[in-house]
Every structure is written in C-alpha cells, then in structure tokens.
Symmetry: C2
Subunit: 214 residues, 2 copies
DNA sequence: GGGTATCTACACCAAATGGTGTAGCGTTTC
DNA sequence: GAAACGCTACACCATTTGGTGTAGATACCC
C-alpha cells in the first residue's frame, strides 16, 4: 500500500486527485492539505506519507521550499511536484530541493498512477519537457567542466600544482617529490609564468575558476 | 511524419522495433543498421533521420560514442538510447554525449511510440530508473554549492576575505580599507583561526570548496 | 558595573615567498 | 651535431607571511 499526501491549494484539484487515486487499490490518501505549513506541522501524517503530490504555487511557503524542508525531515519520502509551470528555474530548484519527480498538470492524468508507482519503486517521474530541461542542465554542466585551457604544463609541473593546492610549502613539495626545495621553487615560478599569475593566491584562484586540476 | 533510424545489432530486436513502429502511421523507418559506423557513413540516411533508436552495446564503436559523433553532425537529431543497462556511468555519459532520452528495454514496449512522439515534440524520454539516476546526479552537483557553513566572520572580516581572494597583500588590503597593515594582518589571522586554516593557500581552498564568498 | 565582542594598532621573529640570476644533464627533434 | 625542452640545483635578495604578544576604543548584553 502506497500512502499519499496531497498538498494543493485548489479544492477542485484536490478532489480530482482524490478521485483519480481512489481508482487504484494499491494507493491510499493519508493527508490532504491546502498549504504546506499545515502538512509540515503534522508530524503524524508526515511520518506515514510515502509520496507527496506537491503543488508549487501555494499560499504561504512555496512547494519548492516545502520540498526542501520535508526532504530534510524525512529523506525517504518521495515528493512529486505537480504543476503547470515548466520554467527551467523552477524545475532545477525543485530537483535541487530533493523532489523525486516533476510532472506538468497538462499531462494525461491517467498516467499519474503509473508514475506514482514508478517513483515508489525507486524511480523518478519526469514530464518530457522537464526531462529535456534537466538533460540540458546536465549537458551544460559537463560541457563547462571540461576543456580547461591548456597552459602546456609539464608532467612534473602538474605534480607540483597538485601539492601547491594541498597547501604544501616549497620544502614539503620538494620532500614529497624527492627534489631540492630550490627545484620545487623553480617549477612553481615556471608554473606562475605559464599561468600568468604571481602568487599562491592568484594561482589558486585560477586553478579553481578554470577547473585546471581534477 | 517522424523519420526513424534503428541502430541495433540484434536482428530480432530490429524486427521487433520495425513491427512496433509499423503500428503507427505517423512514424516511418528510414534506416536500420546493425552497427553505428554504417549509419554514420551513410550521410543520406543521417540527413533524413529525425530520431534514432540507439543500442549501447554494439560491435565496433559503442552507441554512446556514436551519439557523440551524430550529435555533432546533426545537432537537431534526437537520439534515444535503448538498452538493458542502467548503470549510472552509462546513463550520464549518454546524456553528456547528447542523447535526448534513455530508455530501458524492460519497459513496456507499447510506451515507446508515445515516448518517441514526446521526444519529437521537444521533450525527452527517461525510464524512471534513468530519471532517478540523473536527478541524483543533478542533486549532488547542486549540493556542492550548498549553503556555506557560517564561521561567524564579522563584516570587516568578510571585506578582508574578499580582498585576500583578489590576491591582495596585507598592505594592499589595509590601503583599500583604510587601516594599518598590522590591522589587516590581525583580521586575517583571526579569519584563519575561525576557518581553521593557516595559510593563504588553505584559505583559498576552503573558500572555493565551500563556496564561502559570492 | 562587568563581561564579551569588534575594530583598531604596534612590536618582534622565524619562515616562506617571489623574483632573478646561472648552470649541468638527459631526451627529443630537426 | 645543434637546438629545444624538461628536470634538476644553487645563490642572493627584498618582501610577504604566519604566529604571538600587548593594548586602547567602542559598543552591546546581562
């Protein structure tokens, strides 16, 4: 039995869900709220809930904020965002808040039951549009993180870089790499010249901002 | 009319898809290959293809590599990965390569047509398991830029932090903030104590890794 | 009033850093 | 064989940095 709570400010929509879910004997509604605060305050219902159908636009705190709070309270609870909004920002924020699904209300309501079951068995449910948005987000993230500019650092210099980032001094670096500290220093100054920096701080800034290591 | 190409090394699977797709008059198969190289080399078919049903395990180059190549050749082509593999790495790589969907073969084959149409109209299609994997990936990525821990830095100390990050020395910081360089130094040492670091480098590392500024 | 916190300021010291030289040795490239 | 590059090593220098003191002024809280 899957225990479901509905958080939705429209009475009609709540009743619509109630009817839809009543068609399946595997699910049962354990709570129905018109605002998230009431649900969050009701610890009994929170504890008993497996899946939340959460609207985004609510009086009081938004569904996304509620998702954040509820995910922290009960990490194994699956929150399914149900909304008419397909904006990138809302979608990404909802997922970041811990939502396990993002469905647009204009989708066929008959699919909802199968999507609830997918989520209950460890999957996630995304409307095609939300899925595309997230895919693009992931695609861009990976795009950005690659192609670090090539400063033609030698193998040895890269080793030295890693140790600088660890906070090692000339001496510590030279000890770890079995060289004279003067050599470590020479390497570092060469690195600085290649990266066009002139201090540990500006070096670190460049490394992190341009993702030069890892 | 949606023009589809199938890349799948199993003859039976190809015929299965062919039959399934023949049930819908809106789609039409324009190509069918047992390996990706043949498809990629056939520019005519590539140009006519709207959607590719792509297997991952193929003789020769993998479906993921093929996806990367085809995405570059024809960016508006939608590639749908169809596979039995649900490993996180394959899923993420496929999306990174530009796939617009990732479906597991054990899903109901009757859903395939509706998912193809979703993808054709600008959406993406993900099996619940693949969706969950990607959500987790995105969630973790965003987790990294979580709420920065509060080290109780004072307002003045935060100003100093910003200047440290810019690479300023004690003297430069004190000049910009109109204080004695000894004071800037005092602030910095206090900051170090609060952040539990002991050098510019370890300070920078903490700032960037924990997203303390911005 | 007394305690706490913030911002300010200075002194002293050892260590690390940045900058510039020079130079030997081995490998790769032309 | 010469040139270029990479890795090594040392000298010398001024500056910066990390660390530890002390201490006055202000403000806020109990």
């Amino acid at each position: 039995m899957i225990h479901i709570t509905i958080v939705e400010d429209s009475f009609d929509a709540r009743e619509g869900f109630r009817y839809l879910l009543s068609l399946d004997s595997e699910v049962r509604i354990v709570g129905s709220f018109d605002r998230a605060e009431t649900f969050i305050a009701n610890k009994d219902v929170v504890d008993r809930t497996d899946i939340v159908l959460m609207d985004i636009e609510l009086p009081g705190i938004t569904g996304i904020e509620a998702t954040r709070i509820l995910s922290a309270m009960k990490p194994d609870m699956n929150i399914l965002i149900l909304t008419i909004f397909a904006e990138r920002e809302k979608i990404v924020n909802a997922i970041q808040a811990g939502a396990k699904g993002y469905l647009l209300k204009n989708n066929d309501p008959r699919d909802l039951l199968s999507q609830i079951k997918s989520v209950h068995s460890g999957g996630s449910a995304l409307s095609p549009l939300a899925a595309r948005t997230l895919l693009e987000e992931l695609y861009e993230k990976h795009e950005i993180r690659k192609e670090p500019a090539d400063y033609h650092l030698t193998h040895r210099e890269i080793e030295v870089c890693r140790l600088i980032v660890e906070g090692d001094t000339y001496r510590e670096i030279s000890d770890k790499l079995s060289m004279a500290s003067a050599t470590a220093k020479k390497h570092i100054l060469n690195i600085y010249r290649k990266l066009d920096v002139n201090s540990r701080v500006t070096f670190m800034k460049k490394v992190f901002e341009e993702n030069l290591l890892e």
